[in-house]
Structures are given as C-alpha cells and as structure tokens.
Symmetry: C2
Subunit: 400 residues, 2 copies
C-alpha cells in the first residue's frame, strides 16, 4: 500500500485506465482521501436523469449499470477511462457530435482544494445561475485546481432505435467535405467518425474484426432516435455521401450488423499498435479545428505523415472538427514523430483551432497554450491557479 | 453623454433591454471601452455554425438576421435581452429544455479584466480541452470578473418542421407529473412551459391574445425536427398528457395556428402587469429544482400565493425544473411579496434546488448563495473574484 504524503505527489488526475487502488492522499489539515473505495455508484436519481458517482467508476461499467433503467451517460472516450480522468481532461468521444462533451454532462462536483477545504460546486437541478461556474472550472483542469472525490452526472434516455452506417471515399477531401455538409444541414447523427486509408489498411492487416474492409478513407456513422427518425437520418446521410463521391454506403439492419459495422472503429487504436514491432511505441495526439477547416487540416496532416516514412493513422471525431493521429515510433525515429506532432499542433492553431480537443494539455502541449490563446489568457489561468493553490502543490507544472 | 470614470461605476452587466448608448468605461491603464458601438454582428461563419457579435446585439435581432441562412441562436430569454446580459446571467429561456443554456452556446469571449488586460478566452473549434474553461467562468459572473466586449456564439440549424401544442389540466400536480414523465421518457420536445390557472385568468382578462383560453393549469409545448419526427413527438406527448388527466390537447396545423397557440406564452408577463394598478410593481423571480421535485415545489408555491391575498402567477420552463413567479405588490403590501419570494427560495434550496435558474444572484439572492452551496463554495468564488479583481472594482458587492 502506497501512502502519498502530504501534497508533493504528482496527483494522478485519474486518467483513463489508471487503477487508483491503494492510493491515499492526505491533505494539510489532516483529511485523508482514500481512493481504494472510489469506485462506487452512490445514487441514481432515475426521475431526474442524474447519477452520483465516485471518480474511479469507469464509463463503460456505468453504462452497463444504467442500461436496465433505459438510461446512459453519453461521453464515450477510450476503453477503460474513469469518470475522474474524464473530468480532469474535459474529454468526450464519438457521441460528442450529438451530445457534447464532459463539460455539458456534469452537474456538480465535490472537490478537495489544496488547503484541504471540501467544496460542493452545485446542487442537482438541471439549470442554475447561482454564482460562478465552479463545476466547469474544475472540468478540464487536469487535477491542478483540486481533487475530485464525487460527481453528479446528467444522464440521457437511451434512444428507441439505433443504427450504424459506413461509407468509403476516394479522397480525404471528399470524406471531410461530406462531414461539413452533414453538419451544415443539421442532420442529427449521433456520431460521425473518419478512419483514413492507412487506418483501414491496419485494421485489415491486424485481422481483429469479423470481416474485411475497403482500404479507402471511410466514415462511420451512428444514428439514434425514434424508428422513423433514424430512417430519415440514414436517408439524408446517404444522399450527402453520394453527392460527395462515396463509393459505397452500408447500413446495419440488425443488432449483429450494428456491432459488426462498428467493430472497425473500436479496433482502430489496437490495430495501429499491432503494426508496431517490439521496440515501437505509439504516440496518440489530438487537435480540433472549426469544421470548415477540417478538410485542409486532415489532408495536410495525411501528406505530412506520408512524407515522413513512419506509420501514422488518422481517426477523427470529425463531426466536431476533432481528430486523433496515432504515430508509431522507436528510439531511432522519435524525432520524426515529434516533428509530425508539433507541425500538426501548429497547423491546427493557425487554422483557429486548438492544440487539444479532448486529451488535455499536460506537459507536451503546455508551450502551445500561449500560442493558441495568448499570454493574457494563460496569465489569467495562472492567477486562478495561484488563488486556489498558492504553493502549486496539485499536479505542479501542468496546463498553464 | 455619460463618461463612467475609472472603475467605481456599477458596471451594467448589459441586462435585458438596457440601452448602452452613450456608455463609456475607462480602464485603469487608459483603455476606453466605447459601448455606443457595441451592437454589431461582426462575422458569421456559416459553415462552422458560429457567429461573432458584440454584447449589445439583441437575441431577437440576431435570430432575424440568421433566419436567411437557415440558422438560429437557441437561448431565448425575455424580449429585449442582449447577448452581453445573457452572458452576464448565464440565462436560457423556453428552448433550454432541448438546447440547454447560454453556458452551452458560447464558444469564446473577449473580456477586459479589472486591470485593463484584454483576454480572448478560446479559439473557435466546437471542442477544446486547452486549459481552464475561462469562457464558462465569465458566463454567469454578472459583470463581477470582467467586461465582455465580444462573443463567439454557437448556432443551430433551424429545424425543417416546427409545431406547438397546448394541454390543460385539472391540477398543478397532474400538469407537472406529465412534464416529469415527458422528461423521463426522453421525448425531445423543444420546449415545455407551464402557465398556471391564475396566469391563464390574467391572459384572458388582459385580452391581448386573439382568442380565449381555458382557465386551467396549462402546458405549452414546442416541437422541432423532421416532419415525421415532429408527428411522432406530438403523438407521444398527447399520450402522456392524456395519461395524466389532461382535459384538452390542441396542436397547430399551420404557421398561423403556431403563432396563435404560442401567443399566450408570449403575453404571460405583460398580462400579469396589466392586472396591476398605477401604484403596483411586479416582482419577477425564478428558482429551479430537480424535475422529480417540481410538482411539490409548484404546488406549495401556488398554495402560498393563494393564502397571501396578493396576486401571483407562475410561468415555468418546467422541462428543466425551472419556473418564474410574477408577484404584484405596492408600498403597503411589499412585505407580503418579500415573504413569498423568500419562502420560495428556501423551499427550492431545501429540495436540492437553486435560488436562481436563469436570472442570476445580484443583490437580493446573495445571502442565499451560502445556504445553497455552503460557505466553502462561496469562499472559493471569493478567492477567484479577488484573484482577478483584488480591488473589487467590477460590479462590487454582487454575487458572492
């Protein structure tokens, strides 16, 4: 059992998959936070569509629990992520196109500040204008302002009907233009994900899905709503992808087909990893741009990776203008991977975008915050940090 | 022309309907902010579904402008409200049931801090995890942390089809229970508004609508979506209201009928005002509770107003558990109105609710912030205030 004495520990912002078992944190005024027991679902308020949970509850487990009540928690980042880490990074996932990010799905937090003060940021109503938005100040602060010990989450009602569709395109430009048109028309797709040609090749090569895929730039769609609503969404989406030169359009007619068609999306990261050798690591990064710049930023990034001589794949929550690059590297060519990432971030910022859409700033992207937002905004963040944690004890030297 | 010297002016948080013409604010480092020219729509990014505006743009004018592009800005508070005031209070309106509040519809702000620093809180992508959420710290801060000079707002695509329906109920309990069921079932109504029996009586008495109304507790619904989607929503809503004893259910079959049916909702405040004499004032207040407590809080408030002997009406954005009370009073019976308001606030807080769902804290509700959130949360707000405005120059003695 590891006791983290006082503050001078790098407070883990409960990031995806991190087990907190055996972790204690003792605050200056003697309160001990015991994270061994931080994996409880405390209370479901079925009629209010909210649930109170502890930070080490995983979003997948939470959704398994909620299914029996016909409810779900929309943010769906990588497998294994826990609510605390999702709050820390202000993450999202594939459902963000329809449902938004963590910032929209947390009602209230219990937070331990650096001086040991315990703050409950808000009561439970869906709406409140009572004072400063402390909840949203903590979301995305990466453990630098306080330690979250409890969260009240908003829930959504499971749609009556869901479906999945897949469309492949001759070029990244046509695929991303189709996405821009879907956004502009307001077709309420639950998710729209881009897997580029290299990604589709990796998925076939890894052979972890039950079928083979066209090795083309591919869009994966999720639909949800009433039965007629879903039919209408599929019809409108089919029209748009056709207009932008899609070579194929398949949609699921059963639960089995839904799972089969979504399999490739689920296997994206693992398939890229499977292409690496024993000495290879995978650099995962993300940026976001206004949707009108999506085509440009993805095309330029694809070309940059092709020129580099190392394997890079692109997977995107493109309905939000957000995408990930997965880059395989080793000790010999790490500088090439770094070059791709830094050029990607600079490219996104130059297009009025952000250095991170859902992963957070951490250490690597810290120097870019000033490029993106200006010295004044970063200084404002530092003033807030120092107001709440003057000794810089919580997750020091991160974010700002 | 009025020059506001330095900071010691009550900085108007651009509240609804306030004309800013002729207002200047001079910051300590000599920057003069000229609010005469703060009513411009600066740039529409049609493909990104966002628009850059100045704070004195009214939401109704903005939506008139956006209609030609098939777009709209969802938050719809009282007539005359301007974007700056809507940011100041973190307001919402009838559309919040479907679309959420200002907190969800502002991408980025340009803010002048108390020391004259100009901060742009964020770039334009739909999604970002880059640093602390400065945008949402400013929204709802009622002008106490900085002065907003520009805002980038998210926009929604106008639904293909819209409709309106009206259902009346024998009791407040049945009406609110129907709302709870609609929320629980996840029927995606764009708005669901309660006008209580007293309110409907005032509307008939004021005679400002083109028809007479049943003097019963009444729910007004707005629907939006594809033609089939709207039909489905109306059908499901009709089933629910019937199940909870609705005596009538009418829905609009044309644009004219839509406007006619929504007229009563639009005339609510004016109709209550029309019932007052020359010496009467109208106290407008709001609270919000978790939806499961709605029936209880509205019933108890109705009974309290009935006992008081003065006229009070209830109008609610009940889909969010949020409602307003309009209370007529004069110099003689002001203490009775105060009593109703204070009991209402205490009742809502005791039900895990908030002292204000969309109006903000200001001065009257300031003592309740600690009751609602605890001393620790209010102290945290004060630390943030002092970090950004150590001399308490901006809208002093408000909020926290």
């Amino acid at each position: 059992m590891k006791i983290c004495h006082k503050y001078r520990v790098p407070i883990v912002p409960f990031s995806g998959g991190t087990s907190l078992e055996g972790h204690f944190i003792q605050t200056r005024n003697g309160i001990t936070i015991d994270f061994r027991n931080m994996g409880e679902i405390i209370q479901l308020h079925q009629d209010d569509l909210d649930v109170v949970v502890q930070p080490a509850v995983g979003w997948e487990l939470l959704n398994e629990y909620l299914e029996q009540y016909g409810l779900f928690f929309p943010p769906d980042p990588g497998p294994g992520a826990e609510i605390g880490g999702m709050i820390g990074t202000g993450c999202s996932g594939t459902n963000a196109a329809r449902y938004g990010t963590m910032r929209e799905w947390v009602l209230s937090l219990t937070v331990v500040l650096a001086d040991g003060t315990i703050v409950k940021t808000r009561q439970r109503p869906r709406k409140s204008s009572a004072g400063y938005n402390l909840t949203n100040l903590i979301i995305g602060s990466e453990g630098t302002l306080g330690i979250v010990t409890e969260a009240t989450l908003k829930l959504a009602v499971l749609p009556q009907e869901t479906s999945v569709a897949v469309a492949s395109f001759p070029s990244v430009k046509q695929a991303t233009q189709a996405v821009q048109e879907i956004v502009r028309k307001g077709i309420p797709v639950a998710a729209v994900e881009l897997l580029d040609k290299e990604m589709m090749k990796c998925i076939n090569a890894a052979g972890q899905t039950s079928r083979d895929w066209r090795e083309e730039h591919t869009l994966f769609f999720k639909f949800g709503g009433t039965p007629n609503g879903v039919k209408e969404q599929i019809k409108e989406t089919r029209n748009v992808v056709k207009q932008f030169g899609s070579k194929s359009f398949e949609f699921a007619k059963s639960q089995t087909e839904r799972e089969e068609l979504w399999e490739a999306r689920k296997e994206a990261l693992w398939s890229t990893l499977a292409m690496g050798g024993d000495n290879d690591s995978c650099w995962t990064t993300d940026v976001a741009v206004p949707v009108s710049r999506l085509s440009e930023v993805v095309s330029e990034t694809r070309a940059d990776m092709d020129r580099s001589g190392i394997l890079g794949t692109i997977v995107g929550h493109v309905g939000d203008g957000n995408f990930h690059a997965f880059i395989l590297y080793n000790d010999t060519n790490k500088h090439i991977a770094e070059g791709i990432v830094h050029r990607l971030v600079e490219r996104a910022i130059a297009m009025e975008g952000t250095c991170t859409g859902e992963h957070g700033v951490g250490m690597v992207k810290r120097p870019y915050l000033e490029t993106e937002l200006g010295k004044e905004a970063v200084d404002m963040m530092r003033r807030l940090k120092l107001a709440l944690d003057p000794l810089r004890l919580l997750n020091a030297d991160k974010v700002c």
